[in-house]
């Protein structure tokens, strides 16, 4: 069904997890900006330098290379698509430049999330002055997405088992109803969470 690969487990035990998360977010953003801005002449030094740093991070933090490669591979079709249009104007060096930029950008994001437990990602967002409402909603979404997804999986499984005879159109309508039921379940749960929040004294003051 939905391959909900959450963060690799035991993120918190890794060395880089002890670095303050706002610093890590700043470093990740810095790397991404560097990659976005770097002129062609910097390409060899940036790719070697960043490459070495990332390899060290991967090794020290015991990040699965397979996991990293799987994520990088997902961006390749987009890269090829762009190269299809621009290979003539970019030339070999330009194409290589673009490839490095996109794969290293994905790698930066993967390494950031693989070395930062989600609660710390949330606190680094707070440090960057992201509105408190947004951070709280993000926290709740992260908390409940696995539950909603497992409810969806169960419903989808029972629908699929009983409707192999249906055509596409009828199946889509059925998926719509299934999603409607999922929405109502989520809505009802939000009411219960609301009650739990009220009972703990929360009254909407997010400051």
């Amino acid at each position: 069904m939905i391959p909900l690969e959450l963060q690799p487990h035991s993120v918190a035990s890794r060395p880089l997890a002890t670095v303050k998360s706002p610093t890590k977010l700043a470093m990740a953003l810095g790397s991404l900006l560097l990659l976005a801005m770097m002129p062609a002449t910097w390409l060899p030094s940036v790719s070697i330098g960043l490459g070495l740093v990332y390899m060290v991070i991967v090794v020290l933090n015991r990040i699965s290379v397979l996991f990293l490669l799987k994520r990088i591979v997902c961006v390749i079709p987009f890269v090829l698509c762009i190269l299809f249009f621009h290979y003539k104007s970019m030339g070999l060096q330009g194409s290589f430049h673009f490839l490095i930029r996109s794969t290293f950008s994905v790698a930066t994001l993967v390494l950031f999330t693989a070395t930062t437990p989600f609660p710390q990602i949330l606190s680094s967002l707070k440090a960057f002055r992201v509105p408190h409402l947004f951070v709280l909603v993000l926290a709740l979404a992260y908390r409940y997405m696995a539950l909603v997804q497992s409810e969806l999986s169960n419903m989808h499984r029972s629908v699929t088992l009983r409707t192999s005879h249906l055509g596409h159109f009828e199946r889509w309508r059925l998926y719509g109803r299934m999603m409607g039921s999922l929405f109502l379940k989520a809505f009802d749960r939000s009411e219960r969470v609301h009650h739990a929040m009220l009972c703990r004294g929360f009254h909407g003051d997010l400051n």
Partner: protein, 236 residues
């Protein structure tokens, strides 16, 4: 609770003229068949639903205007732990709402530590509660309620879906809490062994009230309300 009446919109009244007095430090069990309004009663006490009649806690009467302040003096453990463990970490789940008491960070940490120790949860509190077993989740909810140190604790089906070990651990934790407790449950043996009083609810309100040994041993009464004499009493 005095003369409590409540009906869901468009439905028959759940209660009419319901009255119950629970003494300080007592553990009172609320039993009854499905649909008799046991959980609804807890929501009324929390001020989450509005009925007619009077609800009073240690001299303070619940009104719409003072609902928030009223709730500060009670803690509620809901039936489904996933509905009340909504923060990213166990620590934040237990600490949620404690800032309203104006405590500093050190006091909050100490309170969370004491509460988690009190219910026997020793896992790393910086992890999410998602990975915990159902029994552990229920005990974290209990810890969160304990941290508030409120005089009244309301529990909705605390032993529901727990395996025997989880149930034992939860009841052990419950025993150590000396707040006044109101427990809604289908677990009749829990009421028989852990409650000082029991209140049997039926359609429309209270059917009987008294000590578990007096009420729950009456086979005819229990069976008339779709219940049965608990095993604890059957075995003598």
């Amino acid at each position: 609770m005095k003369d409590l009446s409540f009906a869901y919109p468009g439905n028959e009244p759940v209660f009419k003229g319901f009255s119950l007095a629970v003494g300080k430090g007592e553990t009172c069990g609320l039993i009854g068949a499905n649909g008799t309004g046991k959980s609804t009663l807890l929501l009324l006490i929390c001020g989450l639903l509005q009925g007619h009649g009077e609800i009073c806690l240690e001299g303070q009467v619940l009104e719409k205007a003072n609902a928030a302040a009223f709730r500060r003096r009670l803690s509620m453990v809901f039936q489904n732990p996933d509905d009340q463990l909504f923060m990213p970490t166990i620590f934040e789940d237990v600490a949620f709402g404690l800032d309203q008491f104006g405590w500093d960070e050190e006091t909050v940490r100490r309170t969370v530590r004491t509460s988690l120790d009190g219910v026997g949860i020793t896992v790393d509190w910086s992890q999410s509660s998602q990975q915990l077993s159902l029994g552990q989740k229920k005990r974290v909810c209990l810890a969160a309620a304990l941290a508030r140190n409120a005089p009244l604790m309301l529990l909705d089906e605390p032993t529901n879906e727990l395996d025997p070990k989880g149930r034992r651990e939860l009841l052990r934790s419950l025993d150590d809490i000396d707040a006044t407790k109101l427990i809604v449950t289908h677990d009749l043996d829990l009421v028989a062994t852990h409650c000082d009083r029991v209140c049997l609810l039926g359609r429309g309100g209270m059917i009987a009230e008294g000590k578990p040994t007096e009420i729950m041993t009456q086979e005819a009464l229990m069976e008339a309300h779709d219940l049965e004499v608990p095993l604890t009493f059957k075995m003598g």
